[in-house]
Subunit: 524 residues, 2 copies
Amino acid sequence: MNSAEFRKAAHSAIDEIVDYYDTIQDRRVVSNVEPGYLRKLLPSGPPEEGEQWADIQKDIEAKIMPGLTHWQSPNFMAFFPSNATYPSMLGELYSAAFHAPAFNWLCSPAITELETVVLDWLARILYLPDCFLSEGEGGGVIQGSASEAIVTVMVAARERYLTAACENLEGKEKEDKRTQTMGRLVALGSEQSHSGTAKAAIITGVRYRSMPCRLQDDLALTGHQLRAALEQCASEGLEPFYLTTTLGTTATCAIDRFDEIRAVVDSIQSLEKIWIHVDAAYAGAALVCEEYAHLTKDFVAFDSFEMNMHKWLLTNFDAGCLFVRKRKDLTSALSITPSYLQNPFSDKGLVTDYRDWQIPLGRRFRALKIWFVLRTYGINGLKAHIRNHIQLGESFARWVRQREDLFRILTPPAFALTVFTLALPAHTDSWLPNGDTNVKVNEGLVTADYLPETSTDQLERANALTKTVYERINAAGGIFLTSSVVEGVYAIRVVSGSERTDEVHLRKAFDILVKTTKEMFRKR
Amino acid sequence: MNSAEFRKAAHSAIDEIVDYYDTIQDRRVVSNVEPGYLRKLLPSGPPEEGEQWADIQKDIEAKIMPGLTHWQSPNFMAFFPSNATYPSMLGELYSAAFHAPAFNWLCSPAITELETVVLDWLARILYLPDCFLSEGEGGGVIQGSASEAIVTVMVAARERYLTAACENLEGKEKEDKRTQTMGRLVALGSEQSHSGTAKAAIITGVRYRSMPCRLQDDLALTGHQLRAALEQCASEGLEPFYLTTTLGTTATCAIDRFDEIRAVVDSIQSLEKIWIHVDAAYAGAALVCEEYAHLTKDFVAFDSFEMNMHKWLLTNFDAGCLFVRKRKDLTSALSITPSYLQNPFSDKGLVTDYRDWQIPLGRRFRALKIWFVLRTYGINGLKAHIRNHIQLGESFARWVRQREDLFRILTPPAFALTVFTLALPAHTDSWLPNGDTNVKVNEGLVTADYLPETSTDQLERANALTKTVYERINAAGGIFLTSSVVEGVYAIRVVSGSERTDEVHLRKAFDILVKTTKEMFRKR
């Protein structure tokens, strides 16, 4: 493909993408292809001779499009949003063109330097404490995802802890102490922490233990639960070295009690410090609004903070933004410099080599899209985007509350997310799922906190009803939602975070929920 | 930015990118900005109000471009190539537009299915054994980089080994056995393995040991060295569970002796199998040519294979292609499924959820660019690209050999890479570095294999000369090279892998080398 062919192909691709975005709300939001659909449509191997772009492009609409789930559709209210925006796409385009695998500064200095600058910009507009800025001992780095960031900081936490534990030891004694300590290390999270923490513990070879959260605490991790877990670990001879706290949990957008956690950790006097990470993957975007700035005040006592611009902050995946208080903690753990990576700039310590802040060696020029997004929207544009969704979420929660005959809010709506269940009708005996008697209910503990008057049998029935409504709605494909099982309660999550979602789409979603729920019930 | 604004902005961006590529050879290949140049050019934060694209775009040429090192320049002969091509850029563009964080099949089925299909295509055109195809028990997955792939398979290897070691044990006994075994695990590589293996061992919490390679074996890992390492580990009570072998080492493109390694591993009778990984990050691309197919015959006995299409196979970073013989080894180690990720398709095992084949949760739609590249070039186009560079590399090596008064080839030229040093002139006493008496030589072992007649003093002098020539050439900026220290010998690496490099560029590079080398010497 020469330059003239590329210019023509790319202009055609741009036109197709604009058409796609302009009509996205008319497409079925969640794909309904059968598993294996695509292999049937494609040849068994690549062609011997090259093909023309026009022939390749035709296959996009014909073969790829049916298998896409449209995350940018205003009818997408599942998981968390994963925004893709026009200025961010321009960033991806230039990034592809200017590509260098940027494992060190000299690879392409602008790639490293722009990343440092825009992450400092971001730290400031998120009201993070100054300790996370690159100008001091901290700094930000773009990671692929929140889970990758957790693996990265968990390795740094483990090495910091083991180094402290083995201080003043040498040789065999040191080696034995390291092995013994390694066997006792435990990473902590709450039951509501994202699964990325449990997975990171597997990857880094340590134990993982999760702490219970209670509906009466709005599913937040409290100081009380943390202290209990630390005491339990001590009694078993385990050594907690790392803790994930969460600002906006995946299931319900709960906020851990940072002040209480800080107080507990501060009360521990030990050389071997517990690394505290704040996972704000989704809700961290809301920190651009000053009304949330109070949430960051305790972070000054924590070691790392991560939010994904690629969720709710208008930037294409991947743009995981990890900030650490001491960059030396990362580089001490992860730096390996063979001769082919040595160069005068790195050797003199004049520059940042981000390969030592991450798991992979190479990296893409992801700072460009962040730069384009921050400049295109401006601080006020970002705030307006977040506040609009917060307001939409509040409207939705209000509508749910107004139909207490059908629905029950499970946890406080937050960050545009509403989590609710079907309400059990007053005379449950007279209502049955409409023919779906084989609905399986996910198992879980029944807590006394939810529906204290509810028996196990009633809860199972309610769970079955909620699950059936949820599955019918997704099968119909007008909107796309996700569910969660929270403390044994099966709940539906509705979150509005797509740039194209407005009140009319949420109203439509609500109407679908009401209609499907009503259809579920029939008199015996 | 609305659709009309985006169309205009994107067309303008495309035009700028085409201009960039059409004139790339006229730009200074390696950036010569000073560390910190960019922060001085940028404001201290993002604007309050959004800016227009025209204003943002202006800053690309003015502020970003000076800090870029141009990896697609035909004058780039450093590291390994990292190809970016037009069809691949189109893949990145659509990927950005169709974005879904594709952590499971339902997220956007086409993303998973296209990945499975194109990686099967790739496995076949690389002449990999059938066990790596998804149709059996194996399959391919796109990873961010070769180092990320090594971490991924090392976790799978560790868990497979520990599971076997703890078989039939329960409770405390199992836990103790696991902890003890974990403390004895050692990952193996050769001294020529990429640093990614040592880093993966840090990340996964195990020991790492590298085996020596000898110049007389062309720096390949041999069966003899492997057996010696295994015996040494056994004598120390260590348990090797993982080995990186390499097809095309970073420093010199050496090829490990796969047949000997296979024989050694086959001779070990143990429940706890050593996982053998083949790192073919760069040179794996050459396997598209049937003349290299014999290299893959022993892979049938190995566990995983990785090559990066984003190095030499015309695809934008990232496109690390990892193939495993048993996908169950990956998913058993890495699968965690919380309720918010459950769905009927995954639960029934009908589909592939690539999140369980990798470290991060989310992922980009990277299969698109691979699909576009394979179709645009066709199998014959890919072969022609590789063979052209192989031939260029052979020409370059021939020129180097013809100037034995100036240069000495260090290791057999392979895969378009030539590694050489300056030759010590016959009467070394009469030649001295031209004023660079403070050149520091990297320390390393002097081997008897290289220049057996050379004394330590002579080697240091030769190293200093080679390093000075290397640094002067990079400082001048006409071409960009890298160096390596191999068994104590400082060497220059020249590799031609950019799509735009042809004989005239390599000839220019050679002339620069000759001229700079001659200038280095002066009579006392």
